[in-house]
């Protein structure tokens, strides 16, 4: 178990050594480690060395000059200048919030960025201003559309955060695939089988092999198969891709740059970097904020009281498991798997930083 503070200081130091300005290093660290706090271990410090390798390969700019390239009162398109998505996305969300302050809502599409950590962090930035926050991003192609065997889409997450009064906020943060890639990585490490409906083989057959992606297999959209609505997961993932990248001018579909530095970029790129889409809506742009938040409290307590199926503990509200995990890990520390520990030690050596 590592105290949050210890991992924070280490991570910030690594970002500083990469050349990030002080403020960027702090922000990137906060965003990255939010994943570890919330229990999304695949998107947190376990990825730090991946970001460093992308920087080594010249695909991440540690000192980006982010700029607005197009705007209206309620929208902006941002060029992330190949910066860390961990820095570009929250800055873009800040722009969305400023616009919402002035005209009710703000919507920012981002190009030329990189992976932005967990979508939930950016959506939750809206909460302190009594705004609803939305965040999406496209990602490296791993998911096949319904009826296809080609990897055409990322796990393209959607996050929505909604403010409340007495209840904790509603925070949905979901990959539009049947399972996020991080869940697969856990099964791979433990050499366990995957549920049928998460993955298909290179020729489109059902498989429980979590290593199938290495053999040309692909992840399945939310819904898993046509009968159970995989065309809906595919459509939602497509919407994320379009809002994040076709609107902004980033790469979309099979052209989205891979997170791993050892894979080459696709040929004939159709845009710049990875794309995100961020939105903020002032709730008092629709009705008085306190009315809204009181009704959200009522919504949440009503759903919590719904009848629980035999064998289950409780009906959960989106955000519940992650909030409980955050409380636990802030108190007891963050566990790191052996390979992640060794990876971080290597990284520490490279930069002369003690974990």
């Amino acid at each position: 178990m590592y105290p949050y503070r210890q991992l924070f200081d280490f991570t910030r130091e690594i970002f500083l050594r990469m050349g990030c300005p002080e403020e960027d290093a702090r922000l990137a660290t906060e965003v990255l480690l939010e994943a570890d706090l919330r229990g999304v271990d695949s998107h947190g410090i376990a990825r730090l060395s991946g970001y460093v390798r992308l920087w080594d390969a010249g695909r991440i700019n540690a000192k980006p000059q982010m700029r607005i390239v197009h705007e209206t009162p309620s929208t902006a398109t941002v060029d992330g200048d190949r910066g860390l998505g961990l820095v570009i996305a929250p800055r873009a969300m800040a722009i969305a919030k400023e616009k919402a302050d002035r005209v009710g809502t703000g919507w920012v599409s981002v190009k030329n960025s990189n992976h932005f950590g967990i979508a939930g962090y950016h959506a939750m930035m809206a909460l302190e201003k009594d705004m609803i926050g939305l965040a999406m991003t496209n990602a490296s192609p791993l998911v096949a559309p319904t009826f296809s065997t080609d990897r055409m889409l990322g796990t393209n997450p959607i996050a929505v955060a909604v403010p409340t009064n007495l209840q904790p906020p509603f925070v949905a943060d979901l990959a539009t695939s049947a399972a996020a890639n991080g869940k697969l990585e856990i099964l791979q490490r433990k050499e366990k089988k995957a549920p049928i409906g998460w993955i298909q083989t290179a020729d489109g057959k059902r498989t429980a092999n979590p290593h199938e992606l290495k053999e040309g297999g692909s992840l399945l959209p939310l819904g898993s198969d046509r009968t159970h609505g995989s065309h809906k997961g595919y459509a939602l993932s497509a919407v994320v891709d379009i809002f994040s990248a076709v609107l902004s001018g980033a790469n979309y579909g099979p052209w989205v740059p891979p997170f791993v530095s050892f894979l080459p970029l696709a040929e004939n790129l159709v845009g710049e970097g990875i794309g995100h889409f961020l939105g903020a809506m002032r709730v008092d742009a629709f009705r008085p904020a306190n009315d809204f938040k009181d009704h959200m409290d009522n919504w949440i307590t009503t759903f919590r009281k719904a009848k629980v199926k035999k064998g289950e503990k409780a009906v959960l509200i989106p955000g519940d498991p992650e909030r409980e995990m955050t409380e636990k890990r802030l108190k007891k520390g963050i566990p790191l798997l052996g390979p992640v520990e060794r990876d971080l030690e290597e990284l520490g050596k490279k930069f002369g930083v003690q974990l």
Copy 2:
């Protein structure tokens, strides 16, 4: 087979006899029959008598005075005055488009409305102005949250329409449940079994009985079970409920009024009527419209060319099947099932209108 024109004239006449103004009757007819054209038979003319019964029961106002009760440059909250959702929703979408014209995007939350037909119609209204359209609505509670056996949410659809240049537009229109209720109705009529993963019994067991809802069963969210991501379908459905009703002041969750007039309203209503959420984003609020539409064409042709799984015909783009159905039905006519024909004949008699 009935020619579109014949069903149009009949339906418009019924709305006129209900007391709808000329323009409203035409609009309601166009919206309702768009479902029949697109092959969503459950949401089209088959529901006409249901709307009439709600009007008979005093739950629909044929002459609504729709008004904006709250607004900012990019948002509005609309009171639908218990009007037909078929009329209120497109008028609300027109407001969203006006706002988008002025400040880049427009977002309208609607309360005190009724069922609005298919979400896709309203989203597609944005296309002619080179805008992306969004439409959602909540609906009568039939779906249980993950781990619950209580019906707390509707099939709460999301539609997104995206303009293109040479390709037909991208139109996603999906219920956030594993299967829309209309699909179940078809199985009921044909006395066929439902796939496992669509429905659960009153005590939360898997079932293939399409009549299970009458026995206290419920529909399952997209994803079907926790392992396959039903918590994601539940979260998306919740977002639709919150945007449509908690933002606007409509009824949400278990309080949403039933479509069938013989079921009573819930006690202690938390809002007014049913809620919708409509959005329009000018694509040139993000980048030049032609650049965007060229890249959408490229997105579509790229996905169409993805490798097809053995045994399947083609990789589809959201909107493809509905567009093909529309072309076919405009040419060959719209088929009506026996019970629907008899229902419409009854309705004709009631109002003295010939089908």
